[in-house]
């Protein structure tokens, strides 16, 4: 009877309107059996985190092509921590240099995917992360 689904928020923070990638990924995650909450364009970090809270998602996946990722992602992460979302993955994609990916990863952001990533890779990453979190929770409780 129990039916667990991976829930993912797919959103576009900031001002850029290039939603092709976000939509392709959202559709691919759905096709992989996930429940995808799509927030649409021009989301502020505050909106994203509040939406993630209400929807109780496992994963927040953000697409940023404007170059504002070093402002937006740390802000989302900070709000997640303030809200106590310690069991939620923050991941995403966009035009992000390897140095920036490294810096964001050190802050606690999950893997970030550049243009040309196969959607299968993103699906696998999310599924593995959710499984590992499940295993971790099982051992700690």
């Amino acid at each position: 009877m129990t039916e667990q689904k991976i829930r993912v928020l797919v959103g576009k923070p900031g001002l850029d309107g290039h939603d092709r990638g976000a939509k392709v990924v959202a559709a691919a995650l759905r096709d992989a059996g996930m429940e995808v909450v799509y927030t649409g364009l021009h989301q502020t970090p505050e909106r994203i985190v509040e939406t993630a809270l209400q929807e109780d998602v496992d994963v927040i996946a953000l697409s940023i092509l404007s170059g504002a990722h070093m402002t937006l992602l740390p802000r989302v992460l900070e709000l997640m921590r303030e809200t106590g979302m310690n069991d939620v993955l923050l991941t995403g994609g966009g035009i992000i240099s390897q140095d920036d990916m490294q810096a964001l990863s050190e802050m606690g952001v999950g893997q970030l995917f550049g243009p040309g990533t196969a959607t299968g890779e993103i699906i696998e990453y999310i599924e593995n992360w959710v499984n590992e979190r499940g295993a971790k929770m099982a051992t700690t409780s």
């Binding site: 829930r7 096709d31 992989a32």
Partner: protein, 338 residues
Amino acid sequence: MASTSGTPEVAGLLERFDRGDRRALARALTWVENQQPGFEQLLHATHSGLGRAFRVGVTGPPGAGKSTLTEKYALLCRCRDQKVGVLAVDPSSPFTGGALLGDRIRMQDLTLDDGVFIRSMASRGRLGGLATTSLEAADLLEAFGFDVVIHETVGVGQTERDIVSAADTTVVVLVPESGDAVQTMKAGLMEIADVFVVNKADRPGAENLERALIATLGLKPREDRDWDPPIVRTVAVEGEGIDELATAIDAHSSHCRESGVLAAKQRARSADRVRDLVARRIDTHVWGRSGGEKLLEQALDRIYLGEATPYSVADEIVALVGLDSGSARLETEEEERA
């Protein structure tokens, strides 16, 4: 089944829920959606908080502007100092089980208001416009303290009985483009509406739609003969007609309270819930604990060889698990059919 006793995990969640922690509400909704062990305990424990919220169903064909209308109506409720919970349902894919939940895009003015809580739900296999656990989710929102709970779902005129049982007032949203469709919807959407909305009423065809609605409404008496569904014109994106919509919903709400329809509806809802729960327990009992599954497996060969029929096997299983005599039930069903 020890469905009414709590585990420490349930107790912890309940404690946070009672404190008004929105994350606890969100997590409780997940438990209920997943029908995760403990979810019935949660619902049991929060049940005393029910009986105060008003439940509105908003349905209609795709593209009718339901989400925008829901947003504007919720904003109006907020002006009246009512707290609003919204359950927005989108279909799950029957093949992959995944779903794209995009209703929030059109309800963004509500996101940062802490008097509002929106939850997107995938239908998870349930037909009829609602999600498998929409009613239970609405209970949680009500118990958490929301004064108005809105079920928002796509309806195309076939299987909307669901929303009628979930909502105290059902609003059917149409647009001028649905004019032709009204004819084919007679049997579905038309009968369930307590209030009609002609949205995008500034477009050509709005009057025709309204005329078609009036004509169709005259054709068939409704279950509640004392209520004539009003038709409200709106332009939801502009916020036009929302006051009139609220007035119509309020009028229906008073009518239901005064005429006893509301009480009857609530009783029916409780009855449905108990029936569901009993069915679920019996299901678990028969197939899970009592070895029904194993017996069925063994019986399949006999059915194949012609030594038994599905009907006789059903009787055997029911008898084995210690329920009432199966053959008696078979007869009753036949009587009913006759």
